[in-house]
Amino acid sequence: MAISTEPTGAEPPAGGEPYPRPTASRPAGPKPTAMPAVPEPAQAQDWIVLSGVTKRFPNVGTPALDEVDLAIPRGSFFTVIGPSGAGKSTLLRVLAGLAKPDAGEVFIFGEPPAEASRRKHLGWVPQSPALLPWRSVLDNVRLPLQVNRRAPCQPRDPERILALLGLGETLDRLPAQLSGGMRQRVAIARAFAFAPAVLLMDEPFGALDEMTREHVAHLLLELWQAERPTVVFVTHSVGEAVVLSDQVSVMGKGKLSEPVDIALPRPRPEGIEDTEAFHGLQRELRARLREAFAAPGD
């Protein structure tokens, strides 16, 4: 589906590696090592950086985030997978400024999350669509354009985004008149409507059936290809992670593994799930997940 939209961040270089790869340890240079390094200040504008981030909850022994270091370059699609309770959602909440870390630092393109949020650089897609039931589909998508108007943003045409997501015929319907998959697509359209630099997606397809998941994931991929925001995506699904991402990290007991490169060509067509390369990456991630489950302390 060819659409023309304005760029939201750094465009990928032509040819070769399509865009910078995220790393759980450092942003540039040789292969990432176990010791993390924060990007140099000159580079900070183009990276999401977590440095030594720890987050504990009262009366819980294991920290939700245990000295997490992470650096994600602008314009990439980074996915975190892991078992329930591994700290994935907490990681996203810290990035969104919805939770404050007990220790460590977080920077979204050189600014703390609260400032990024104030400047409307963050789009948040929760697990449930969280649509306002009294508003039509179109009005739900317009919501981000109607709040915090002082923040400059380059709004997209909500009707165009809805059409791209296959919801062009539902503009005047209420959320209760839509299926679960359609509602989730509206939530995605709402996040894209104000063209945020970063999209934080917390298991957005968790409540959908397998077929709908695949379909919506490919629609998201098309929209991302067109808009190219930096995406931090949390999921339980290994297949979904491979289809969507540039890199995938496994999270277990508050710790983030070295990311796995998803060396599949882009754009990724529907049916890529049937290729041997896809299955190989799935096997590698499953092995990492088993390690996360069997981490010391079990």
């Binding site: 649509l131 306002l132 915090n148 005047d172 299926s179 709402r190």
Partner: protein
Amino acid sequence: MGCSVSCGHGYERPSLRRATDHLRLATWAPPLVAFGVVLLVWELLATHERFLLPTLGQVGADLTGHLGTLLAYGGATLAEALPGVAISYAVALLLAVGMDQSRLLTRAVLPLAVALNVSPLLAIAPTLTLFLGLGRAPKIVMTAIITFFPALINALAGLRSADPKALEVFQSLSASRWETLWRLQLPASLPYLFAAARVVVPLSVVGAAIAEMVAQGSSSGLGVFIEQQSADAQLGYAWAGIVTLAVFGLVLTALIVVVEDRVLRWRGFKQ
């Protein structure tokens, strides 16, 4: 959408569905049977205890015979009840907004509201009459006091009923408190406010009538009418006044349901 009954995609317009519901026997039969049973028991009791309870025929005759008087007295009661409930709702909503934002205010105000709720009106009435005079003002204030607590509790519950995930979306956008209140919390609280109105508005009519009975110097209103007729052992007239009060309550409740159906149209859509 522009569809008549079915939109062709498996959904029905709620207003039309409800309109057909209203015509169904299953909708009307239960309340009619319940009313019938109550009236039958009444008639049996009145036949055996004619000095305690007038017969339905007597009440009906007194009601139709003095309808103009009853409506005039009822109008006076409504003129106290409706401003009272309006003041109560406005203050309750403002306080609930403040309490939703400030735990300190909640801690300060809630015990006071509970104390006001459990205070006997009979004890407050003389003081209010001394302060506000013999006119409508003390009755309006007493009505407001009677209806205030349920309005406050429902308004607070409504404001806090907003979807936490939607609240997170507002937070992630750095929406101001006012924007969150106006675009999320107040619309989310409307079902609670209407549920409270169904209780509080009819209660305000009863509250105003009681205020007329206990406040000194009252000369109009159904409360005065009922009290005078009871004192004169005119039980038929007294019950005609009570029935008028009940009809006012039913009509007001029906009006609220109609407005609620229109305002909360989005709630009626079912897959």
